[in-house]
């Protein structure tokens, strides 16, 4: 007796969250059955392995049919074939677009191209995430990227509208898309200590302050070949950043800046002497990062530079986080008292974001 055909179709589509998890994680039916058996479900329900097999197959078939719709979530809401309560629809979408921290760290900042896709085998071996799951996650990134790439307006809003994701997930995707678009290097050994959350935090700050959309004023001529509002960094701004170089190039200005910061922080920093000794180096590092951002290559290395030029020196001197904060606050604020410096607004736009990023990046 062999089972030729075995199906179950409900008027309301049954979704088993546990099986969905297993399917998303890329397990085959037999692996999924084995995992379910191990979870002790047979003892709880008194079911047999055959029942479990049949149930798992059913769910897998359903998910397979739903997958096409999940590629364009608004379709899932409008389709008539599967009657699914809205809360379940939201769960299906949210879980489908959810990703593994380990995986996203591997592809963050990489071009979402065929070439990267070929490397998924290696990523799968390295992270222990099944290849199937890696593919799904990669395809999700790519799909979202393709859809919002050409769109104007807020990146997060666009993603939320076209993929119906939760606010948190939409923000994460905005970061992924932003990183992929600007190709920030995140894979270097130095950067391994950083989590996806750290990068996503920086991405959000950068989107808010350093892109065209951040300027807040609508482009004067809508027909001009305006870059995507939220995806690309404001070229003009990056160009202007060269002007900051005067802060380290002009020796008087640098000295003045240093004395202002030292005066303000004396007695407040545990690592005052180290700060005093290192000030010029740190300042040079931060200003040079800004000045180099006109080159695409240097934009990509932004995080490497920040860690090399600022995070590592401070860490080697064992600065407490609070001291870093005090220093960065004072460092940015003191520039306002430099009479000879004319680019206060530019400085604030640069340093405001950078300060936030650095504080986030400063940990072990």
């Amino acid at each position: 007796m062999t089972s030729e055909l075995d199906i179950f179709v409900g008027n309301t589509t049954l979704i088993d969250e546990d099986v969905y998890r297993l399917w998303l994680d890329g397990y085959s039916v037999s692996d999924a059955v084995a995992l379910r058996v191990r979870s002790g479900i047979l003892e709880q329900t008194g079911a047999t392995a055959a029942v479990l097999q049949s149930d798992t197959m059913d769910h897998y078939r359903t998910f397979h049919m739903l997958e096409r719709l999940l590629h364009a979530p608004p379709k899932l809401l409008h389709q008539l074939i599967f009657q699914i309560p809205p809360s379940r629809q939201a769960l299906l979408i949210e879980r489908y677009y959810d990703f593994d921290e380990a995986f996203v760290r591997e592809v963050l900042g990489k071009k979402l191209s065929k070439g990267t896709k070929k490397d998924l085998d290696d990523i799968s071996t390295k992270t222990g995430i099944t290849l199937k799951s890696c593919r799904r996650q990669f395809d999700n990134f790519k799909r979202v990227f393709k859809v919002v790439e050409e769109m104007r307006g807020s990146l997060v809003d666009n993603i939320q509208q076209h993929f119906l994701l939760s606010d948190r997930l939409a923000r994460d995707y905005a970061a992924i898309v932003f990183f992929a678009n600007n190709r920030f290097e995140t894979g270097k050994k130095k950067l391994q200590y950083l989590s996806f959350g750290d990068f996503a935090f920086c991405a959000e700050l950068m989107i808010q302050n350093w892109t065209l959309g951040a300027v807040g004023e609508a482009p004067t001529d809508p027909d001009s070949q305006m870059d995507d509002m939220d995806m690309d960094l404001d070229k003009e701004f990056l160009q202007d950043l060269k002007e900051l170089k005067v802060l380290v190039a002009d020796k008087d200005l640098l000295d003045l800046h240093k004395s202002l910061v030292c005066t303000a922080l004396r007695g407040k920093l545990g690592v005052f002497s180290e700060m005093e000794a290192n000030f010029k180096n740190l300042s040079r590092g931060l200003v040079n990062v800004a000045a180099k951002l006109t080159h695409n290559k240097d934009v990509r290395d932004l995080f490497v530079d920040l860690v090399e030029k600022f995070v590592e020196p401070c860490r080697s001197d064992h600065w407490p986080l609070n001291d870093v904060r005090l220093f960065l606050n004072q460092y940015s604020a003191s520039v306002h008292s430099l009479d000879g410096f004319r680019h206060q607004a530019l400085w604030d736009r640069y340093m405001g974001t950078l300060r936030g990023c650095l504080l986030r990046l400063y940990h072990d």
Partner: protein
């Protein structure tokens, strides 16, 4: 009554890409009704076309309106070659013909293609203007309502019952016409779909398909009463309180026929004659049980090649004569209320004469009233009457049986089958009886025995809901007797088995909460087992069936107390008894409308269809191996259901409907449709507030209003036959012909068969028994030809509807927001006639749909399971879309009448035909209704609210 049909094509969405080059589609729509076709403009390069067409107007006769579906075809325009079809939508416009059902059909319909399945959706608006009374001498059946529900629909009340209605239509299957050799599979599928739906526009029922030609036997039947009428049959399974006076038992008849021996294959005469014969038989069996009517009546066929088994079964009953009189139902209802209410055991009392019993049975005084005699067990095909007193809960009981049969041709085959049938009936009956006893119960309701014929085997599947009726005696246990009593170890084995059985009975009693009240009085008729007797075959005494051999199963019934283990077969039986695993705790199951003993339903329902096909290993198949395979198949299926629905616990599977078919030599297909309903464990059970309800019911009769139903039609053609109660006594007294309660009969009759062999679709069309000719066209569905009265006055219904949250099930918002909030309303589906926790406010019309789906890329679509899974999901979607377009939010009495699946994996092909039907309704949650009534405290509203309570 000619009418004007108006159709507007609004828009399409999610269309498939038809032009590979542009990844877009140039879609236009053809709207066809009868022989008239209109076209929309071509909407260029879009997958979401906005046609916004003018109103296409068809001026047609109402006969066409009733028979023809509106046919909408979506095509892709191609300048240089033929236009490619994207898919079709068939819309049945019948619901628009009832004056008070839907007024407009408007919504998104899935565009269906028989090869590709659903391909996008189309938004259509349909309206009908009927011109009244063009010719007062010509009567029209326009507006006759059809229901799938086998009880009187909740917001109606029967005024008069006219009788049993049947119609048989025969047509040639388009798939086997010569033209099929040259046309595409799509054209062939569509021709079949169209023809079947056209025929079902007149009748509907089951279509059967076997390996070769397609022979569909569709049949229908309906209401009946009165002995004077030809067939006093009722397809209803639930009745108003007091309607059923006595129940005699199950009556059934089967007949084996050869389809290739019909003289005029394109005429229904021969088939009509076959059925008439069977119905006569049923009628005479009922008479033998002292009953003048048959309730819960149904007919079915099983076809394999040219052999066909026709089956009919029902429950012999005595009905309250006053219900059958013209126009007196209302009056008698009131009368009845003034009488002392029967203690809820009346229907159990035997209708036949105790001294001249038609068969030997153990009679005792009713355990409830102590006045009348009752049998020791009661089998019926109807639902448990609402006033019956039940102890504990009920449960699903199934008997499963396979019998091997030699492959044979024509007459030899028919003879072999007819020889096997009595034994199958006997064994099925024995199994049912044993399982019933094992459960510690004494009555079966909703009994449905299905005998399926295949190339080399016969399958029998009986499902019923067992209950413990308080009026009937406590069932005795099961005793096993060994054949060789001197063998010590054998003896030990026997006693071990006996202990196991006793333990099971005790356990079941506990499980189903069967605690019968202690009875100290002496019991007439002892439940102590009597020695086994050989079952004997009786010649039928009914004149209509000379060639009928009859089986006296009542002797078998007595045997049920003792199981003799004299061979391996019997051992198997005992084992199979014990291997039936009870459902996990928190789960109950039944095949009736509601579960006896549970009445605190909560609102969560889940309707589902599950299909399984197994392939038997063809080598050395024995009856035992076959039985075991089949038993395992059913048990595993049930186990799977329990597992899948575990999140709904505590819940009950209601209306569990198993269908068995044998699509090929070694394949067994089992299809199950049921609904899982959750219930509240903690709420108090069994609150009997019948008295209160009844008085309210009575109050509600005051503000009733007659439906504008063709009263004159019925009273003209069907002169009323008030049933004289005196005659009933006469009849029942004379009926002592000795025919058993569970009456079975088989007949072989091939003397009159013609030798012509051809393939035909035959359909039995519903038609009023008395109206055979003339301009009156009664188109039929499974429906009572009842004169209906709306329970609540029209104004009242309107207030309720207005306040009801119609938006829920409303698809009509054409300017749907692009995304975010869900725009697809929920449509509930249930095989039951009610929705727990809700009140049905309106019946919008019958849904009866046929779909054929074919694939030539089976592997790519996920194999047979993937193919059928997707198809059934699509069928559900199309049913929901049609209901939503009618403005409804649920389908009740939903049934999948056919699911004929064929595959050819070697060719990577599969085909499936599905027929579903149900009643589209609007329901309002009772909680919402309460809000309504407090907002608008009209005096009128109250009866309708309380009526809602009655439904729960």
């Amino acid at each position: 009554m000619p009418g004007k049909l108006k159709v507007k094509i609004v828009a399409g969405r999610h269309l498939p890409v038809m032009d590979r080059a542009s990844d877009l589609t140039d879609a236009f729509v053809e709207v066809k009704f009868g022989n008239t076709t209109f076209k929309t403009d071509v909407y260029l390069k879009s997958l979401n076309p906005q046609w916004n067409s003018e109103w296409f107007k068809f001026e047609v006769d109402d006969e066409d309106l009733q028979d023809e579906p509106l046919q909408i075809t979506v095509l892709d325009h191609d300048t240089y070659s033929a236009n490619d079809a994207i898919g079709k939508v068939y819309i049945d416009i019948d619901p628009l013909l009832y004056s008070e059902a839907a007024t407009v059909i408007s919504g998104w319909f899935p565009i269906y293609d028989t090869i590709h399945g659903i391909r996008g959706e189309i938004n259509v608006v349909v309206k009908v203007d009927l011109f009244n009374d063009l010719n007062r001498f010509r009567q029209s059946s326009c507006g006759v309502k059809f229901f799938c529900t086998t009880s009187i629909p909740k917001c109606y009340r029967a005024v008069i019952i006219h009788g049993f209605v049947e119609e048989l239509v025969v047509n040639e299957d388009p798939e086997y016409q010569w033209i099929d050799r040259i046309r595409t599979p799509r054209a062939s599928n569509e021709a079949r779909q169209r023809l079947i739906s056209l025929m079902s526009g007149m009748g509907s029922g089951s279509a059967g398909k076997e390996g070769g030609p397609f022979k569909a036997l569709l049949r229908q039947q309906t209401q009946s009463a009165l002995e004077q009428r030809e067939f006093p049959f009722f397809t209803l399974t639930a009745f108003p309180p007091g309607f059923l006076v006595h129940v005699g038992g199950v009556v059934s008849a089967r007949s084996v026929k050869l389809l290739d021996r019909i003289h005029n294959p394109d005429e229904p005469e021969t088939r009509d004659a076959w059925w008439a014969e069977i119905r006569q038989e049923i009628k005479s069996h009922a008479k033998a049980l002292g009953c003048h009517a048959v309730v819960g009546y149904s007919e079915s066929t099983s076809i394999c090649e040219e052999v066909c088994i026709l089956s009919a079964s029902g429950t012999a009953a005595v009905l309250n004569p006053r219900f059958l009189q013209d126009g007196t139902v209302e009056g008698c209802l009131e009368q009845r209320l003034e009488e002392n209410l029967p203690p809820g055991c009346g229907f159990c009392h035997i209708p036949y004469d105790e001294l001249n019993m038609p068969f030997p049975a153990h009679l005792t005084y009713c355990y409830n009233c102590r006045k009348q005699k009752v049998p020791d067990v009661l089998f019926t095909t109807v639902d448990l009457p609402s006033d019956a007193t039940v102890i504990g809960k009920g449960c699903l009981i199934q008997a499963r049986l396979c019998r091997l049969k030699k492959k044979a041709q024509a007459e030899a085959n028919a003879t072999a089958i007819s020889n096997l049938l009595p034994f199958m009936e006997y064994e099925v009956h024995t199994q049912l009886m044993n399982k019933l006893k094992l459960k510690g119960m004494n009555a079966l309701f909703g009994l449905r025995i299905q005998i399926t014929v295949g190339e080399n085997m016969l399958m029998g599947l009986a499902s019923a809901t067992g209950v413990y009726l308080a009026a009937l005696p406590t069932p005795g246990g099961i005793q096993i007797a060994g054949k060789t009593p001197n063998d010590g170890s054998y003896e030990q084995h026997i006693s071990h088995m006996q202990k196991k059985i006793n333990d099971t009975i005790a356990k079941n009693k506990e499980l189903y909460e069967i605690i019968p009240p202690e009875i100290s009085e002496e019991i007439i008729g002892s439940p102590i087992p009597e020695p086994r007797q050989r079952s004997r075959l009786l010649r039928s005494q009914s004149e209509s069936s000379d060639e009928v051999t009859e089986l006296d199963l009542s002797h078998g019934k007595k045997d049920a107390f003792v199981l003799e283990i004299d061979d391996t077969d019997a051992m198997e039986d005992v084992h199979s008894l014990l291997t039936d695993v009870p459902p996990p705790s928190g789960f109950y199951s039944c095949n009736t409308e509601i579960m006896p003993g549970i009445n605190n339903w909560t609102s969560e329902i889940q309707m589902f269809t599950s299909v399984r096909v197994i392939r038997l290993s063809s080598l050395n198949l024995t009856n035992q191996a076959l039985n075991k395979n089949f038993n395992d198949l059913c048990e595993n299926l049930l186990k799977s259901l329990y597992f899948k629905l575990r999140s709904m616990i505590p819940c009950c599977l209601c209306h569990v409907n198993f269908t068995v078919s044998l699509p090929e030599d070694e394949l067994i297909q089992v299809t199950v449709t049921a609904v899982a309903i959750t219930f509240d464990k903690n709420q108090a059970l069994q609150t009997t507030k019948t008295l209160v309800e009844k008085s309210l019911q009575r109050a509600s009769t005051d503000n009733e209003e007659l439906l504008q139903f063709p009263l004159e039609l019925c009273s003209d053609s069907l002169p009323s036959h008030p049933f004289p109660p005196a005659k009933e006594h006469l009849e029942s007294a004379s009926s002592n012909s000795g025919i058993p309660a569970a009456q079975r009969a088989t007949s072989v009759d091939y003397s009159s068969f013609a030798d012509r062999c051809s393939s035909w679709i035959e359909l039995i069309k519903l038609k009023a028994q008395t109206i055979r000719r003339g301009s009156i066209k009664t188109n039929g569905r499974k429906s009572p030809a009842l004169l209906l009265k709306r329970h609540s006055s029209r104004t009242q219904a309107v207030t309720v509807e207005k306040a009801s949250p119609m938006g829920e099930g409303n698809f009509r918002n054409r300017s749907a927001p692009p995304c975010a909030s869900a725009t697809v309303g929920v449509v509930k589906m249930t095989p039951l006639s009610f929705i727990p926790g809700a009140k049905i406010t309106k019946y919008l019309g019958i849904i009866n749909m046929f779909f054929i789906r074919e694939t030539t890329s089976l592997r790519e679509e996920g194999g047979v399971s993937g193919f059928l899974h997707a198809f059934i999901a699509e069928v559900f979607a199309m049913v929901r879309a049609h209901v939503a377009a009618l403005g409804g939010n649920a389908v009740v009495s939903y049934i999948m009448k056919q699911c004929v699946f064929m595959e050819n994996p070697n060719k990577n092909q599969a085909q499936c035909l599905i027929n579903v039907s149900g009643d589209a309704v609007v329901f309002v949650r009772e909680s919402d209704l309460e809000v309504v009534s407090t907002q608008q405290p009209t005096a009128n509203l109250q009866p309708s609210c309380t009526e809602g309570e009655v439904t729960t």
